[in-house]
Symmetry: C2
Subunit: 482 residues, 2 copies
Amino acid sequence: MLDLRPVGYVIGLLLGALGLAMLGPLVADLAAGNGHWPAFAESAVITILCGALIALASSNGVGQGLTIRQSFLLTSGTWIILPLFGALPFMLGRPDLPLVDAFFESVSGVTTTGTTVLTGLDTLPAGILLWRGILQWLGGLGIIIVALLFLPVMRVGGMQFFQAEGFDTQGKILPRALDISWALLNVYLMLTGAIFAAYWVLGMTAFEAAVHAFTTVATGGFSTTDASFAAWPGPEQYVATIGMILSSLPFVRLMQLTAGQPMPLVRDSQVRAYILWIAIAAALVIGYRALVLGELSEDTFRNSLFNVVSIMSGTGFGDGDISAWGAFPLVVFFCVGAIGGCTSSTGCSIKVFRYQILFRAIAAQIKRLHSSHRVVSIRYEGRTVGEGVLDSVILLFTLFILSLGLLTVALSLTGLSYLSAITGAWTAIFNIGPAFGAEVDATGAIPDFPETAKWLMSAGMIAGRLEIIAVIVLFLPRFWRG
Amino acid sequence: MLDLRPVGYVIGLLLGALGLAMLGPLVADLAAGNGHWPAFAESAVITILCGALIALASSNGVGQGLTIRQSFLLTSGTWIILPLFGALPFMLGRPDLPLVDAFFESVSGVTTTGTTVLTGLDTLPAGILLWRGILQWLGGLGIIIVALLFLPVMRVGGMQFFQAEGFDTQGKILPRALDISWALLNVYLMLTGAIFAAYWVLGMTAFEAAVHAFTTVATGGFSTTDASFAAWPGPEQYVATIGMILSSLPFVRLMQLTAGQPMPLVRDSQVRAYILWIAIAAALVIGYRALVLGELSEDTFRNSLFNVVSIMSGTGFGDGDISAWGAFPLVVFFCVGAIGGCTSSTGCSIKVFRYQILFRAIAAQIKRLHSSHRVVSIRYEGRTVGEGVLDSVILLFTLFILSLGLLTVALSLTGLSYLSAITGAWTAIFNIGPAFGAEVDATGAIPDFPETAKWLMSAGMIAGRLEIIAVIVLFLPRFWRG
Ligand SMILES: [K+]
Ligand SMILES: [K+]
């Protein structure tokens, strides 16, 4: 039998932390004097209480670290249970909001997707806006910890390739987990602070700067205004662009950078490919707008680069209606969204590393076609890529594509038009944020999507964020038996 | 150096046969007395002359069979050179037609894609209509020979799995090629004859029955009328449905069937999966139309099944505007088009066999995730699937998806709307036939696509028909050096 207690203990502690985080919006609403603070007080009490009970009930099974199966359960369990409690402030603070909308908004926060069902953001109480930012910030921190500590041990998506890098966890998670998480939190806080300071200096209010700093570093994309970054069509967008790029680089490299070692970052082949691909995609969009649409100004340049980085990093901040630029830019955006950022960052989607491995595998296979040699070895960053890594990467690609297809089919069944269905599936599975189509509001919000579509997209966001495999494994009878 | 002579010799002979085939439309135009026969006479003379010259020039290098590299070159060369000559009757017979349109129509014929740039089919001379049917019929016959003899030796897309089945070619092609091709031609002729007879008995004219029998057995989809099968909304559609299914079954099994062995066909796991998947897709479409659109009659049933089989087999006959049924049926059609028929049939796309292998590989990989066993063997039809087969299948999937993405990007760059770009790429790469979108005529023809889009789609049709790898290999410098 699977011992659930270590899993329950950690989830209990995380719920406690989530409850404490609700005190931030509570203070914000008190300060604003809008009378919304009781919703957060109530939510905090419920969440902390439940967390404490779960942790206490499980505490007698703790101390020997986590097995691989427990790691799978903890990862998926966290991203299912925390959004349930994260939805409480939405439910209690806005009793008119349907249950599905509260849950969707919370999942969209914790998974750092950033798709919203709320309209009229500018008129919402400060607490709700801050809470959305905090959910993304916590979700971003969480996913880096999962990518650094859990995915390698769970052998998900070829992440075992990065296992030896810096942290040897010897097959069991937790012993060194706290040290690593602490160092990571340090970098994450520094980056958030730097982005906050830059936004603030450039003229955002402290509140706007804080929320946008939270959602930039998490590549989440929630904003305080319906206009998103169209409200700041100037230097703020350059800051956001740099912030989004930094947040979608491997955090191991950022940790080395803050320790005074810039070279690992500069030499990292994934980082180089990522920057190169951003440049190519931006050049394609800018070139198209200049040559075909006849638009060429600082605005064209800034706004194209900003949107490319926003989609490729999976942030989803918006500036203008990019679907109005024509079919070619839309297809470019679709493609970069299916690539995503670097591994062990807050960035989402399939990730640059896996495309590099895939391309090398294809090249090796084609070479093999008309030669009699059968042994082909793929190298990455000077090391041989083992067969297990390659198999995992290809499995992950397949599952992402199948999930995308399946969710598109399911969404179209709910009655959505095909463009809404395709981009809805894309934005959910790859945790990007914006969707396009007839049922999408002018603000980019999707309150009018059918209820079933919102549940399906919530499931898609969780599956996509956890790289699908971590979720699928839980549905195998073998998992629970063995 | 690569000896081009055996390749040239075969292509020369094939050109000769193509030229002889032009006598059919010549006779048809003479009989109709429409005065169009000189175009075919001229084309036939040019084609036969060129074929004879090429064959003669290469004849001193013949006799020792083909190496693997020569097989690659012959396969790709045939599908590039034959359409050039196949376009002659269009160019000479309709001097107003742009060059790109003549070439596109010919490629669409030889690759059995069936997308057309011609409108007003009902007013075209009989010779042109017959020539389109003959091009598809020859193209269908050709692709089965390639699938039976060449792809296994070339190790393309896992076809080496079928190599031992019936024909051992011992690594060199040609020795037994003629016997096999002869037996195959026999079955192909019988099937064509049966379908022709059924169409004729049901009320088509002998001419209509002949052209539609040609394009049914080739899963090509060219018709003699703009209305396609909407002109025969009755039992003819059931005949076409059965004909399209038979033509997308493995021809090895049909050859065994005509030799009095029905069991291999009945027991074939690919055939069973294909029939099952057709049934599921048809049930989804019929269910959706019944429950959501409130349509349920014999017409709904027949017409849904007909269109599902038409798309999945890659034929592309039409009956009504299926894109008007809503997003869900459109997504189902998109998916079944990306599956396709069975291996070594005239059917196109990725093929059922490869999905079966892929699904088994995924299941094996997921099983492996939380167990310590590392050895996973995949079985198919009672035999172990070797690693080379699995690698080839996965390479083929990847290349199909990348090509689809690349062609979509390129088509959207020509200014097509996104739906036209996506379905245009889909219909070309998977050799299906219909496209949907703003730039597509009400008849389904695409004369208004930009010239560049037509060239790109022509390349896509050839690459897709030859399973992409056979074409890509020719672009490797290694291929020409080695
Ligand atoms: K996002
Ligand atoms: K076709």
